[in-house]
Symmetry: C2
Subunit: 349 residues, 2 copies
């Protein structure tokens, strides 16, 4: 009965990671006081607060994530949900870096939650929510009527979408202004004398399909040029498919003299198709393409490009999610990125 209570608490100075108990032992305070002192709670004396924080910094105290998570439910995790087959390559790496940049000096970790073609896109979201694995979610490939956004809104889980929805519901998003991209592309092409334009659009199910298509057709009627239908393929199709369809199209009597392409990889295929048909880029046809890294001008100098910055998108999305978690109004966390002008090749200095 003598040594009994004493022993168990004592060795708080042990060599393992410091915990609140360690700090309590070192400062001579109670665990509760230390906990509150570290988060600037009001009822802690100014000197005590400073003292605790000093010691904590000195010994490199870091709150145990599992402890916090178990007690509070807060995971300090943001999940990026990605389709393992269909995402644009540079999108994945750039968006991850953008997110990382923003969460770098926060306690947040980034987890990547993949889903494959065969799965319901709602599956990974359900998993995250049911297991409480993240405080916030970032989703891509957003649809006008997006079940994932609806689901997350219903459960009150903070999230942000890359691309907008169209359900009359308010949530954070970041989007590239694809309407503006398409109109600018059409204006540029007609400005250099092209009259019969084809659009390689995003997949129909995604919201930015109609944004792009509307910009394209609105600008066409504005300038009085013609659309050559090219909707048997989208940027989601394989390089080979796009190449083949392009070649078929270019062998017709009425063929486009201008293309607008929503993705860089697809543009490579379009150009290949054009050349398969024996035509020449810049002479017989011009192509305006979005790109996210600066490679298209190395590919063919005749290409016309508009840049989309995915790293920025990642940063904005992360900021939005953190903002929502922090209590900001979802409606105030929406942003739209304005396209650069259409850029022709410039010789390096």
């Amino acid at each position: 009965m003598d040594r009994h209570q004493t022993e168990k608490d004592d060795e708080a100075s042990g060599q393992g990671r410091p915990t609140l108990k360690t700090l309590a032992f070192m400062t001579g305070l109670g665990v509760t006081t230390v906990s509150r002192a570290l988060k600037d709670a009001p009822e802690i004396g100014a000197e005590t607060r400073r003292r605790v924080q000093l010691v904590a910094r000195q010994i490199g105290y870091r709150p145990n994530r599992a402890g916090v998570r178990l007690r509070t439910g807060k995971t300090n995790v943001i999940s990026l949900v990605l389709n393992t087959e269909r995402e644009i390559m540079s999108f994945v790496s750039d968006i991850i870096y953008g997110v990382s940049e923003v969460i770098a000096d926060t306690p947040y970790h980034l987890i990547v939650t993949p889903y494959s073609r065969s799965q319901d896109p709602l599956d990974p979201i359900r998993y995250l929510v049911e297991t409480g694995s993240a405080d916030g979610v970032i989703i891509s490939r957003t649809q006008p009527n997006d079940p994932r956004a609806r689901y997350l809104l219903e459960r009150g889980i903070p999230f942000a979408t890359h691309g907008r929805t169209d359900m009359g519901l308010i949530h954070p998003y970041h989007d590239f202004d694809n309407y503006a991209f398409a109109t600018e592309a059409v204006r540029h092409l007609t400005g250099i004398g092209r009259r019969r334009l084809a659009l390689l659009a995003p997949p129909v199910e995604l919201t930015y399909h109609s944004h792009t298509l509307n910009g394209f057709t609105d600008a066409l009627s504005e300038v009085g040029a013609n659309e050559i239908p090219f909707n048997t393929v989208s940027v989601d199709h394989s390089i080979e498919q796009i190449r083949m369809r392009t070649a078929q199209l270019m062998r017709r009597d009425v063929r486009p003299d201008g293309f607008v392409s929503s993705a860089a990889a697809a543009t490579l295929a379009i150009v290949a198709g054009i050349e398969d048909a024996g035509l020449k880029l810049g002479r017989d046809v011009d192509v305006v393409s979005k790109q996210s890294s600066d490679l298209l001008h190395l590919f063919r100098r005749e290409l016309l490009v508009v840049n989309e910055n995915f790293r920025l998108a990642g940063a904005e999305l992360a900021r939005s999610v953190l903002g929502w978690i922090g209590g900001a109004a979802p409606g105030s966390l929406q942003s739209l990125s304005v396209p650069t002008e259409v850029l022709a090749y410039r010789r390096p200095d």
Copy 2:
């Protein structure tokens, strides 16, 4: 004294996520029994085991990660450590997908831990170890004498490296056989009559620099061809730099008639530089390049390519780390990926 102990445990049937307590309540067993029944402990009766597992499946029980992690220290997390400035773009996305594929039906989550140019590469590793944030780590950009590998070995943290080290220490790795790549490339180039070859190598500090270089020079002396030094740039340099240096090189009296390039993006720059100097690919010079996605042949049909599969690398690395965590010998978790042969353009069917 009558209702006192009773109340607190009772409402285990509540609507929140089911826990062991919920299962215990439903089966009429103790929490401990349920816990052990779920992990097939030997001292649980066969029928009890089945009953518990059935109920658990029915109500969709999932162990609380925070609870497990707090109690056992097991995080069920694999961390992929990436340099946010220098990684190859397709590497990031493919390796993530490769890892995801392998951990998909395990309880593991993948977290991405980034570090930037300015940081010591050891920083993120230290962070992971000190905070106990992961059960296993995957690192890239491996060096012959890699402080990260050494550090992790010292602490006994399971990890796998993309690329080998050369410290006389044993650890899991996955590597592409860059020696074989370089020798094959040289043999192919000399086979089509090229005699003066230049190598665009990986950065000197990485292990695969010397693998590549050795393969290159060994094959050169084997076939009796000459090296044109080109070591002012590496694949880590900017597109503009490589392009400029290539153009300079190609304007010299003694210029290469063949290139071996260790990365696809760099190859675009090499070709641009060749063309800047007024020379023609396939006629004046041939280029053999590694690529990780099938785009180089769209770029220039004259290019000769060797494929490196990063998705496979990700999968192998994940398998290695999980293997080590599962108790396998580190030395048994090493793999080398054999290059494809050198591939010329093939017209699509």
